[in-house]
Every structure is written in structure tokens, then in C-alpha cells.
């Protein structure tokens, strides 16, 4: 047993291994203060919710309180490991400044109240608006951090009870492009690849994905290959010198650092090279895809030199990256915010799918695509239809799919809004801004910090004619604008299930009681449905369930026969062993590791989640046009020309500013900011700029900078870092709840989203957080170096220039290597459940 400081050593001890060998077990445990493992009263099964990786863990309970966590050795996702956020941030918040009673606004002030009063006010306003305006007056803005049971309940309330199309999650900000890209290429959401592909790949491409910080345990899994025999070559696409970029150099791969907003030019060049150099698998392309000729014509102008000029990267690096993709026997690709939150997000993410389809690298070990998620339960928001989707990956434009839901819920199909896709978040906020949405119910998210262009968001939240309900565990920046605040139970205080990036479903049991009068989000939604007296067409209560397990059973029925089939899962089955990846049904009771092993995709009309879009404009294809394609289970190769981003640096605003994450904080820090170790590791924001830019502006490490965009400004100390010239990085976690101003900048603006613009991808509608233009002004001398972590992408350019980030004595974590054998990987069915069978198209 070894002790590690997992603040200074983010990824923990290496357990290197060779290709095609199992990833060894290492059980990580951190307990509060002097609590020993033997002192713990109970261990309660769960999985971590502080990133999208979904590491299984047990919560340590002592004297009725959460006192730590331990990784679950038997789980296929993490083989016992946990990351710094999980170890130090999972539980410490539970004994802090929680909301314990409902609050209502009286004479402009939020005052303590009770559930009857608070819910009574919501129901009164809700009924009045339904009578006066109708369902289009209601908007629901939810999260990527609730449980499946809560999302599904909310979806049924919104779609079958109220009948509003205005429901979306903050998943729109983090993962909408992943879903959109999979719908466009494969006909449906549903992760093709698996984490087990890391064990057998020969090359790993990370497109706009700083995995070393955003999914630290997954990166530990990659590092164990990189440090073992026959390591994969790593290719990183990122404007910053991240640990991933360093691994790319160390493994003989490539680090490409394109200018923000130019990903599409780079991707078109990579696709063109793979086609031109003869690396495409012609037989696979012919048998399993549609659209090759059009794609080849679209990418034709994008020579490596053309891309090099647009992206400002060396053409030889573009060639080299394409060669690695084209010649490695097994390639794994991952994609995240560098693509999803940038210009032409869906089109660029689709090119990653295209590269794999062109080489026939899908559904086989080591040949995976991981279109990542940012949040732990984002997959559930998508599949349950609590965002701009319908439950069970159903297609809003397919009348039979709407009938299926109407039968399931026993309501008139016309109750379920399906004249257009459910309203995306950016439009939902616009309707509130225009005064046509007049009740906005926000659950488990903090838009006053996380949405783009915060001055505008604050103005909307403050509108007199908008009734704002906020349901959260803390009095967040957003909650401080609410008319009614509902105190919610959080992780460890309630029961439910959730699904991670590679479709693995985990059960999270209740370890402790919620504080004060706080209730689970499920109970709050159920209470609203009851008080609104929502009924089906026969007059029975619309929502028949009363607890998490009942909701899960209802959800199971909703998924029967669909790609996200949960019918083989139950709480009982999920308890004790490993999480299980869907689809999981009677025929495949152990779940499914990889999708599409036989190259047959859920693209058939009648099955697909979408008829697809034009990638340049987002214009939707109608059913007749789609049927005419005669897809027959083939994947779609879709392309788009590169277009210039809506905002680019100019004389007045000469820098491209991008927002991003650090390994030690999550989202708006509601949990991680209340952990001693994490708070110390990354206490405050910083502005990162390159050595050359700093020299030109006369900026020294720690000097106070003002970054100003056409929308607002941010002030923070300078970190002279390792990004590319012309690009400024600002972490997006830091809002105002722990400042004197509370909910707004006051005289200390430092939230990155003061700078960002209101603009989104035409297909996924994901906002563009990574294409704002800004100027940088030095405003004052520093009092020391910026408090930016030195262990990650924010490390100073000059090693040793700044004292290293450490956790100290309170950060001791136990790591136990190899105490048990690694859990076996789930099976990969020859044909994917929920997908109609097709014979491969015969070339003759």
C-alpha cells in the first residue's frame, strides 16, 4: 500500500502494461482527517459525478456523515481508481453551507419559507400561465448532473403533462455536439467505442480533448499504455501545450495547435489525405457507408498547405498526423470541447466519425470512437429526453415514434410537442429575453456562470416578467436571482442511476440523509406533478411512480427495443458488481462493450433518431428526402466546407480568447470549491498567455491583466504559459458566490463567460465558447505568481519559475495496486441490439 499526494500527482502511480493486456487494478482511497478504513461504519455503492468518466466508488459513512471514498476494483470503468476531484471533492461539500429550507422572494428579498408555500407559488403561477398563454409560456432548463430517474420524470411532466417543447439541459453547453455528430453519422446517439479500446489501440487521437485534466482516470489508463511495451502513438489537437500534447511528442506522434475556430479546415485536410494517399478501406466504405463521392469532392480543396495556412500549423504536421491515422492498424479517437465548443462543431466532429468510417475502424478492439461527454449524467439527459431530444432516442419527426410515446404515457399524441425539435437552450433563453417564456425552472445548474455572455443572462434572470424557479443544493449565483428556491438533496443523499461516456450504467445508493428539509430532485418533480394534478387521457395520474426504482422500471419500458435498451438492467443487478453498458436486454444480459461490430447502423427510417441536417446551415432533411437515400443500415459520410468563424481577432481585439477547465475544479465549483485540497490547488482564476505575447505586452508572471471582449471584461493575474501566440486562455469555473458581490461581478469581474459571445453551432446548437476576440491590457503589478496549477496545461513556460502545486498532509491518498484481478470486459455482440439487420451491400 502506497500513499500518494493526488494533488501533486494527479494520475497516481503507473501500472504499465503491454498492448492487449488488461489494465491492472489499483484501488484509490481517501478518508477524512484521521479516519481509518476500519473506522468506517458503512460503505455505500455509487459512482463519481465530478466528470463524465463515471468511476465506480464506495462512499464511506461514519456517524451518519460522508467521510471519504474508495474506488471499486471490480468495475470495468476505473478498475479501482479515482481522480483528484472524486477523492477530495465528492463529499466535503455535504457538511457546508447547504440550502436546508425553501426560499421565496418577499419585497425583493429571498426569505426562508416552507414546501407548501414555495410549491404553492410555483403551481399558482404555472396554472395561471397555462390558462392565459398555454404551455409555450413554460421553460425547463436542467442539468447533466441529475439521475436518470429524475430526467425521465421531468421529461414526462414537460412533454406529456404540460406539453411544452421548451426543455433543455446544460448538456447543450457540453455534450450536444457529441449527440449531434453521432446522429448525423450513425443515425442515433450511442457511443460506438469503449474505454477498453485504450488497451488495444496503436494510435490514439485526441481532438480538442485535454483528457489529462477533464477525465484524469481515463488519462491514467492511457498513460499505462504509454509507459508500457508497444505504446500507442498519441496525436493531440489543442492550441495549448497540455499533458496530452507532451505525450504526443514523447510517443512520436504529433501536436497540432490550430488557431481557434479553424478545426474544420484541419479535419477536411486529414480526410483528404486519407483518401488521396489510398488509406481508405474501399470495401468497407462501399458496403457500410453512403456519401463518399460528395465527401471526397467537399474536402478536395483542402490540401495540407491550404489547411496549414488557415490553421497556422505546419503542413508537414498535417501530413504526419494523417499518416499516423492512415497507417496505424488500430486507431482510437476521442473528441471534446476544443471541437464541441468551437466553430463548425458538428461538422468537425463528424469528420472524426468519417475518418473511422473511411478506414473501417469501428466496432473492433482498439478501433473506437469516443465522442465524449463533459458531465457525469449527460448521457441520461440525452436519452431520457430532458434536453432537446425525445425519450429513448426517438425521432421528433417520426409520427410512429410519437405514437409510441403517446401509448406509453396514455396521452393524446398531439399533447406531445413535435412540430419541430424540442427548443434548444440558447433559443429557450432568447424566448425568456423576449418575454414569451414567463416561467423558467432551472434544476441543478448555474447558468449565471456557465452560459455565454453573462451580462445578458443576468439581465434575463432579473426580468420582472420572468418567474424563475431554482432547484439546487446551494444558493448559487443563479439561485440568488430566483423567485422561488427549492433545496435539493445531492449525490449520496438520494438514490438513482446514471450512465457514463461509454454507456456504462451505475447505481448510486443513498448514503446519508439530506440536510434539513432538502428533498431529492425526483421528489420535487413528483410533488409538482401531483400538485398540478397532471393526468393521462383516462383520468389516471400521469406519473404512476413514487420512488427511484419505480421511475427506473418505467424508463426500462420506454427503452424496450431501442438502441439504449435498459430492459436487462435492474437495481438488483447493478448492485455488488460492475456497472453494465447498454444496450442490455434478455438476449444480452451482460450488456454491450462496443457498438456496430458488423458495420450495420441504426440509420433506417423508422429507427433513426434524426433524418439528419445539412452541416453548414442546420437545415433539417424531411422524411421523404431521407427515405429516398435508401440508407439500408449504412452510416452517412457527411461533409461541409470550412467557413470563417463569426468572430476573429482584428486590430481592436487582437487575441483569440478560449475558456476551459482545470483538473482541480468542476463546473462552477459548487462542490469542488468547497473541498479544502481542491480549493487550495486552484483557488482563483488566471489569464494564460504565451511567452512572446507576454514579452510584447511587457507582462510579467502574476501581473494583473484585463481581458476585454466586445461583451465584457475579466481581471486576473497573468500566467506566462505554454499556449500558442495570439491565444489567451481563461478557466471558466470562477463565478461570484464566494465573493462579496455574491451573484454578479461588482468591481471584480472574473468569470470567463463575461467575454464569450451568444452564437451557436447550426446543427448541435452548442454555444461557441472558444471563439471570442479580445484585447489584453496590463492594469497593475502583481503581488506574486498567479495561483494557477503547475501540474497541468497551466504550468509556467519556465519550469521552476513558480512553486509547485501540492496537496500537503491533508491530501494523503492510499493506492493499492494489484490486490485483485482486473474485471473482464463486457461482451461485444456480433450484431448491435436495437438495430435492424441488413446483409452487407454486395459490390457485385
Amino acid at each position: 500500500m502506497d500513499e500518494a499526494d493526488r494533488i501533486s500527482d494527479i494520475w497516481g502511480a503507473r501500472t504499465p502494461h503491454a498492448r492487449d493486456e488488461s489494465w491492472p487494478v489499483r484501488v484509490d482511497m481517501h478518508l477524512d482527517g484521521d479516519v481509518g478504513e476500519a473506522d468506517v461504519d458503512r460503505w455505500v455503492q455509487s459512482a463519481c459525478v465530478l466528470c463524465s468518466n463515471g468511476c465506480a466508488c464506495d462512499i464511506a459513512v461514519k456517524d451518519g456523515r460522508m467521510v471519504g471514498v474508495r474506488g471499486r476494483a471490480q468495475d470495468t470503468v476505473n478498475h479501482g481508481r479515482l481522480g483528484p476531484k472524486g477523492l477530495y471533492g465528492s463529499w466535503q461539500w455535504s457538511r457546508s453551507d447547504r440550502l436546508t429550507r425553501p426560499l421565496v422572494r418577499e419585497n425583493g428579498e429571498l426569505v426562508k419559507s416552507d414546501w407548501d408555500t414555495a410549491m404553492g407559488r410555483i403551481v399558482e403561477r404555472s396554472r395561471a400561465l397555462l390558462d392565459d398563454v398555454g404551455p409555450l409560456s413554460h421553460g425547463f432548463y436542467t442539468s447533466g448532473q441529475l439521475f436518470l430517474e429524475e430526467y425521465y420524470t421531468l421529461a414526462v411532466i414537460g412533454k406529456a403533462g404540460i406539453g411544452t417543447p421548451h426543455m433543455d439541459g446544460n448538456t447543450r453547453l457540453c455534450t450536444a455536439t457529441a449527440a449531434a455528430a453521432m446522429k448525423e453519422s450513425f443515425g442515433s446517439d450511442g457511443q460506438p467505442g469503449s474505454y477498453t479500446d485504450i488497451e488495444s489501440c496503436d494510435a490514439i487521437f485526441l481532438f480538442g480533448h485535454n483528457m489529462a485534466e477533464t477525465q484524469t482516470v481515463l488519462w491514467a489508463r492511457v498513460l499505462d499504455r504509454v509507459h508500457g511495451a508497444d505504446p500507442p502513438r498519441v496525436v493531440a489537437v489543442d492550441p495549448r501545450t497540455t499533458p496530452v500534447a507532451e505525450a504526443a511528442v514523447a510517443t512520436g506522434g504529433v501536436h497540432l495547435a490550430p488557431m481557434p475556430g479553424t478545426n474544420m479546415a484541419l479535419m477536411n485536410a486529414l480526410v483528404r489525405e486519407v483518401i488521396h494517399r489510398g488509406w481508405a478501406d474501399r470495401d468497407y466504405v462501399y458496403a457500410h457507408t453512403l456519401g463518399f463521392d460528395e465527401l471526397a469532392a467537399t474536402v478536395e480543396p483542402y490540401t495540407p498547405e491550404v489547411a496549414a495556412k488557415i490553421c497556422r500549423v505546419p503542413a508537414s504536421d498535417v501530413r504526419r498526423a494523417a499518416e499516423i491515422f492512415g497507417t496505424s492498424p488500430r486507431v482510437l479517437s476521442t473528441v471534446l470541447q476544443g471541437f464541441y465548443q468551437s466553430h463548425q462543431a458538428t461538422a468537425a466532429a463528424c469528420q472524426v466519425n468519417n475518418l473511422h468510417l473511411l478506414r473501417g475502424m469501428i466496432g473492433r478492439p482498439g478501433c473506437g470512437i469516443l465522442q465524449m461527454n463533459g458531465q457525469p449524467t449527460a448521457q441520461n439527459t440525452r436519452e431520457c429526453g430532458a434536453d432537446g431530444d425525445l425519450p429513448g432516442f426517438r425521432n421528433w419527426d417520426d409520427a410512429e415514434h410519437i405514437d409510441q410515446l403517446a401509448r406509453l404515457w396514455n396521452v393524446d399524441p398531439l399533447t406531445i410537442p413535435h412540430w419541430a425539435p424540442p427548443t434548444h437552450a440558447m433559443q429557450l433563453w432568447r424566448y425568456a429575453e423576449q418575454g414569451s417564456i414567463r416561467l423558467l425552472w432551472i434544476s441543478a445548474t448555474n447558468p449565471a456562470v456557465s452560459m455565454p455572455e453573462l451580462a445578458r443572462i443576468r439581465a434575463i434572470l432579473a426580468r420582472e416578467d420572468l418567474f424563475v424557479v431554482v432547484q439546487d443544493g446551494f444558493l448559487t449565483e443563479t439561485a440568488q436571482y430566483a423567485d422561488v428556491v427549492l433545496p435539493a438533496a445531492m449525490w449520496g443523499e438520494k438514490q438513482g442511476t446514471f450512465t457514463n461516456v461509454n454507456r456504462t450504467v451505475h447505481l448510486s445508493d443513498r448514503a446519508v440523509d439530506p440536510p434539513g428539509e432538502a428533498r431529492s430532485d425526483l421528489d420535487i418533480f413528483l410533488d409538482y406533478a401531483r400538485r398540478m394534478d397532471l393526468r393521462d387521457r383516462d383520468g389516471a395520474p400521469l406519473i404512476a411512480w413514487t420512488d427511484p426504482e419505480g421511475a427506473f422500471a418505467a424508463w426500462r419500458e420506454c427503452t424496450r427495443g431501442r438502441l439504449c435498451d435498459y430492459t436487462g438492467l435492474s437495481y438488483e443487478k447493478l448492485r455488488g458488481g460492475s456497472g453494465i453498458p447498454w444496450p442490455c436486454n434478455d438476449e444480452h444480459p451482460e450488456g454491450t462493450d462496443r457498438l456496430y461490430a458488423d458495420g450495420v447502423f441504426p440509420t433506417d427510417p423508422g429507427v433513426c433518431e434524426s433524418y439528419g441536417h445539412d452541416l453548414l446551415t442546420g437545415g433539417s432533411l424531411d422524411e421523404r428526402t431521407y427515405r429516398a437515400l435508401d440508407v439500408r443500415g449504412r452510416a452517412l459520410l457527411k461533409g461541409s466546407p470550412y467557413t470563417a468563424a463569426p468572430e476573429a481577432p482584428d486590430d481592436e481585439y487582437p487575441f483569440a480568447v478560449i475558456s476551459g477547465r482545470t483538473a482541480y475544479q468542476f463546473h462552477t465549483r459548487t462542490k469542488t470549491g468547497r473541498s479544502r485540497q481542491l480549493r487550495r490547488a486552484a483557488p482563483e482564476p488566471w489569464v494564460e498567455l504565451s511567452v512572446a505575447d507576454a514579452a510584447r505586452l511587457g507582462v510579467a508572471e502574476g501581473d494583473v491583466l484585463c481581458v476585454e471582449s466586445p461583451r465584457g471584461s475579466v481581471q486576473a493575474p497573468a500566467r506566462i504559459g505554454r499556449g500558442r501566440d495570439g491565444v489567451v486562455f481563461v478557466p471558466f469555473h470562477y463565478g461570484y458566490w464566494d465573493t462579496p458581490a455574491g451573484r454578479a461581478p461588482g468591481d471584480d469581474p472574473h468569470a470567463a463567460n463575461e467575454l464569450t459571445l451568444t452564437e451557436w453551432d447550426p446543427v448541435s446548437k452548442q454555444p461557441l465558447f472558444k471563439v471570442a476576440a479580445a484585447r489584453v491590457v496590463r492594469v497593475a503589478d502583481g503581488t506574486g505568481p498567479a495561483a494557477a496549477p503547475t501540474t497541468t496545461a497551466s504550468a509556467p513556460a519556465r519550469p521552476g519559475a513558480v512553486a509547485g502545486t501540492v496537496g500537503g498532509p491533508g491530501a494523503a491518498t492510499q493506492e493499492r495496486v494489484g490486490e485483485s484481478a482486473p474485471p473482464p470486459a463486457p461482451p461485444t455482440p456480433e450484431h448491435t441490439p436495437g438495430v435492424p439487420r441488413h446483409e452487407a451491400t454486395d459490390r457485385s
Partner: protein, 152 residues
């Protein structure tokens, strides 16, 4: 031969559509997707106009007297609010539909003349005009219920 007249008409209509996209985009700049996509599509119309130039010049020497009344009228001032946006998008839809069917008409003549250069231009521009119509239809369908039922 009246093809030259129609090529001139199409050239004018693409130019009018480009202007209309820009005008609607500017008039509804508070709708960022409309603002940005209108500019992207206006540029697409500009390229269509450019692509027509060599064909127009080639056929221009056999031009008949052009009846003025064939030309399309552009858009007036944009309207405001949700219903205004809806109505302006409908105007764009009408103009783009006119451009679309005019490409069809010109394409038919191109077939009759076996004019490969013209047919290539028609192929590309007709496909892109179809996408413009698809986007307009998508955006109009999305905007209609809120504008007609809930907007104040």
C-alpha cells in the same frame, strides 16, 4: 434567344437574394443564428452571381431586348419582433424559391443547348439553393408556434 434574358434575370435575382439575406440578418441581429447564417448564405449567393458571369458574357451577344417587368423586387425594411422575424423569413423563402425555379428554367435551356459549362454551374447552385430553402423552412417551422401563440 431569350436565354440571355433569363441569365440576366437569374443574375439579378441572386443579387437581390444576397441583399435580402443581409438585410434580414442585420434587421434581426439579436437572433444570432439568423444574423450569422444570413451572412453565410448571402456570400453563397454572391458566389452564384460570380459563377454566372462567364455564362452571361458568353450568351450576351445574342441578347434580345430585356423586358424590365421580369425582374424581381427586393425586400423593404425588415420587421421587428417574433412575428416580424417569421414574416421576413417568409419573404426570404419566396425570393429563394424564385431563384430555385429560375435555376431549373435555365438548367432546362442548358440541357437543350448541351451547354456543359452552364449545366455545371446550375448543378452546384441549384443544390446550394435547395439547402437555403431547407434552412429557411426549418427556421420558420421552429419560430412559428412561439411567435403566433406566446409572443407579446
Amino acid at each position: 434567344m431569350h436565354l440571355a434574358t433569363y441569365l440576366g434575370l437569374l443574375h439579378h435575382a441572386e443579387h437581390t437574394l444576397a441583399e435580402a439575406f443581409r438585410r434580414v440578418g442585420d434587421g434581426h441581429a439579436a437572433e444570432p443564428d439568423v444574423f450569422h447564417l444570413c451572412e453565410v448564405l448571402a456570400r453563397q449567393c454572391d458566389r452564384h452571381t460570380d459563377a454566372l458571369v462567364p455564362v452571361v458574357e458568353r450568351h450576351d451577344e445574342r441578347r434580345e431586348t430585356e423586358p424590365e417587368r421580369l425582374l424581381t423586387a427586393g425586400l423593404g425594411e425588415t420587421r421587428s419582433g417574433g412575428v416580424g422575424l417569421l414574416r421576413d423569413l417568409q419573404d426570404l423563402y419566396t425570393l429563394a424559391s424564385f431563384v430555385d425555379i429560375t435555376w431549373t428554367v435555365v438548367g432546362q435551356a442548358g440541357q437543350g443547348l448541351a451547354d456543359r459549362e452552364l449545366l455545371d454551374v446550375v448543378g452546384t447552385c441549384e443544390r446550394e439553393t435547395a439547402v437555403q430553402l431547407r434552412w429557411l423552412r426549418t427556421r420558420i417551422k421552429q419560430a412559428a408556434p412561439q411567435a403566433l401563440i406566446a409572443a407579446r
